[in-house]
């Protein structure tokens, strides 16, 4: 496709540690197109953040091993020189983080940080850059722009800081925005404001968004396509409605049944037993098998053979040894309302 902004193929990331090699991400593939949002959902340690840091070229050092391909706008980023990646980062691809207080520099005024973000990539004078910064702050819904420009990060509230981060990320109108848990540190009413803002900005700039989150409500709200990650791999990949109304993988079922719904009934929650796996010395077989309540229906294979990510519907893939028949009888697709 011509409007495909980012495509990731077979991305693997491992870290050397004292305890052994941590396989943080194994064989992840996806792509995002302009104006679309891909949500990457998973629990802590599932590899969702590490994979996007690798895409942004923010992982380096002798202890990290990254393999696979990341094509951004036609350019291969894995193996590209740091200078090449740096030229793209902040201009064509940008990232916002969970905690804006630690992502903003505490000693510089907001104006200085925004101006720097512009001048690194564009040949603008201080005045022009500051004007642009003011315009962008206004665009992200900051009420008293002049005051905020002169402020230091600690003088702003959490919601304001996140707006400043978004302004900084979008000031060069990037084609791709990676948002790593952008609203997790915020209160719900502020979260609603920020999500609304991201949606509006995406419409205006036609940005492709990779949204990393653990909150299935945010996924339902924002995304076009969803990847569910567990233990470093994608275990299900589907269009958003498919994922919620016809999920095909026991881990996704478990996630959906674990969340108390504000609109739900008072049914008892059905948690996934056990706890997430260690990614050191990953055993053979399916990573989810130790916690899977359906593995007896398959038998031996779950603990001996690593399931492939196979097509289970239109644009829908799942990593599971259960047969289609078994899946349909365990969890028939919800008729969409």
């Amino acid at each position: 496709m011509s409007n495909q902004i980012l495509s990731v193929e077979n991305l693997s990331v491992s870290f050397k540690t004292e305890d052994g090699i941590v396989r943080a991400v194994s064989g992840l593939s996806y792509s995002v197109s302009a104006g679309k949002t891909l949500a990457v959902v998973g629990e802590s340690g599932s590899g969702k953040s590490v994979s996007s840091l690798a895409v942004m070229g923010l992982l380096s050092g002798s202890k990290v091993n990254i393999t696979g391909e990341v094509h951004f706008d036609g350019k291969q980023l894995i193996g590209a020189s740091p200078e090449e990646v740096r030229a793209l980062r902040g201009e064509d691809m940008a990232m916002i983080f969970q905690d804006p207080l630690s992502a903003l520099h505490p000693f510089y005024r907001i104006s200085a940080q925004l101006i720097e973000a512009v001048q690194v990539h564009r040949n603008l004078s201080n005045d022009e850059a500051e004007k642009l910064a003011g315009k962008m702050l206004d665009r992200v819904g900051i009420p008293s722009v002049d005051r905020v420009l002169r402020a230091y990060p600690h003088e702003l509230s959490g919601g304001m800081r996140q707006r400043v981060m978004i302004a900084m990320a979008l000031i060069n109108e990037p084609k791709l925005l990676i948002a790593d848990e952008p609203t997790t540190a915020l209160d719900v009413t502020v979260q609603a404001q920020i999500l609304e803002l991201l949606r509006n900005l995406q419409n205006d700039f036609n940005t492709a968004i990779v949204l990393i989150t653990h909150d299935l409500g945010v996924v339902a709200d924002m995304s076009d396509e969803v990847i569910v990650m567990y233990g470093g791999s994608a275990v299900e990949h589907a269009p958003v409605r498919e994922l919620f109304y016809s999920p095909q993988m026991p881990y996704t079922w478990g996630l959906l049944d674990s969340i108390p719904q504000i609109s739900g009934t008072d049914d008892r929650l059905e948690p996934i037993p056990g706890s997430p796996p260690s990614l050191i010395n990953v055993p053979a077989g399916c990573v989810f098998a130790p916690r899977c309540i359906h593995k007896s229906e398959v038998g031996e294979r779950c603990s001996t053979e690593y399931p492939e990510l196979l097509s289970v519907g239109v644009d829908h893939q799942a990593r599971c040894h259960l047969s289609t028949q078994q899946r349909n009888s365990i969890r028939p697709a919800k008729a969409s309302p």
Binding site: E43, D187, V190, G217, A220, P260, I262, S263, P276
Partner: protein, 341 residues
């Protein structure tokens, strides 16, 4: 009602703000709690929900007498405990326990699980039948941990398991009340559900009352019998959970509920939402009149001038708003039905 385990009346906590390096002088106060009244009945769960800085955690800590209140009274099991000394409080502590948000900082890393969970027995000088170790191992088993973990250290456990250790410590003496301060917000969703189920089971088994403090409305809705919504140190609305989620009358409650994203794309995208403008005002300089008036979509002059008192407008339904009826006629209510059913 007579069967309340805790009754709080007009509870106020003001934290002083000081300035100056050599001579500290007080320049103002943070009104963390401003006249909060509620009661928790034996064996029930009262949810206390609100955004950060609304005073919900301060409420929990003040009730536990971990911080002293500025004014107001706290009655525990029929006894006024507002001004009891530490020594006088000690025997009561066996009936009131607390579970904390952060399972990493609330457990001493140098103590074994056995030491941690048997601490209540040691402190209170209680010798259970069959010995402390056996009792503690039974409790560990009850919260879903392996009794053989008795001699291990918190560092060996994951977040969810640590929270189970915290729960084991809290239920060791079978208290009448547990104040749960954000007990699941540090946990992943699949683990969160395990801990919520455990808390429900324990309540059923031992008849413990919970004051469940959380910012997550879905979680509070799931576990509570009644819910109090707090904003800037005050209770805005307090009612049974069914009533709150189907017939809420406070504009802030509406906004809070409509802000929670629903894990269902069709419902999520078709519902109407109220997006509040602005941020929470500072509790050191709260707005005059109704504290919510600066962000309220229905504000009038009356709201800016006069503080709406929390009053019982229906049996069991308390509300602090000048315009309770107006809420039911808004578009939100009409379109809200589809996400509330």
């Amino acid at each position: 009602m007579s069967n309340h385990i805790i009754k709080v009346t007009g509870l106020t906590k003001h934290f002083p703000i000081s300035a100056g390096i050599f001579r500290q002088r007080q320049t103002g106060v943070v009104r963390a709690l401003d006249g909060v009244s509620f009661e928790v009945n034996a064996g029930e769960t009262l949810g206390l929900v609100g955004e950060s800085g609304c005073g919900k955690s301060t409420a929990g800590r003040t009730i536990m007498r971990l911080v002293d209140s500025t004014s107001g009274t706290i009655e525990f099991d029929g006894q006024d405990i507002t001004h009891l000394t530490k020594r006088e409080l000690k025997p009561l502590r066996r009936d009131m326990q607390m579970i904390f948000q952060d399972p990493f900082s609330s457990l001493n890393p140098r103590q074994t699980i056995g030491d941690i969970v048997s601490a209540p027995f040691r402190v209170q000088g209680i010798k259970p039948q069959g010995g402390v170790q056996k009792t503690v191992q039974e409790i560990l088993q009850r919260v879903g941990l392996n009794p053989e973990h008795y001699n291990r250290y918190p560092g060996d456990f994951s977040g969810g398991q640590r929270q189970r250790i915290g729960i084991a410590r809290a239920i060791a003496l079978q208290p009448k009340l547990i104040v749960c301060d954000e007990p699941v917000s540090a946990l992943d969703v699949s683990i969160q559900a395990q801990v919520l189920n455990l808390l429900e089971d324990i309540q059923q088994e031992f008849g413990i009352a919970y004051l469940f403090i959380a910012h997550d409305l879905s979680v509070v809705r799931h576990i509570s019998d009644r819910v109090a919504v707090m904003y800037l140190g005050k209770i805005m609305e307090l009612t049974g959970k069914q009533e709150l989620y189907t017939g809420a009358l406070h504009p802030y409650t509406h906004a809070l509920m409509s802000a929670v994203p629903i894990a269902d794309p069709d419902k999520e995208r078709s519902r109407e939402r109220i997006i509040l403008k602005g941020d929470l005002p500072s509790p050191s300089n709260p707005p005059s009149g109704c504290v919510f008036s600066t962000r309220c979509p229905k504000r009038t002059d009356l709201c800016v001038q006069t503080v709406p008192e929390l009053r019982e407008i229906k049996p069991g339904h308390f509300l602090a708003c000048h315009y309770p009826e107006a809420a039911s006629t808004t578009a939100h209510r009409a379109s809200g039905t589809d996400f509330l059913n």
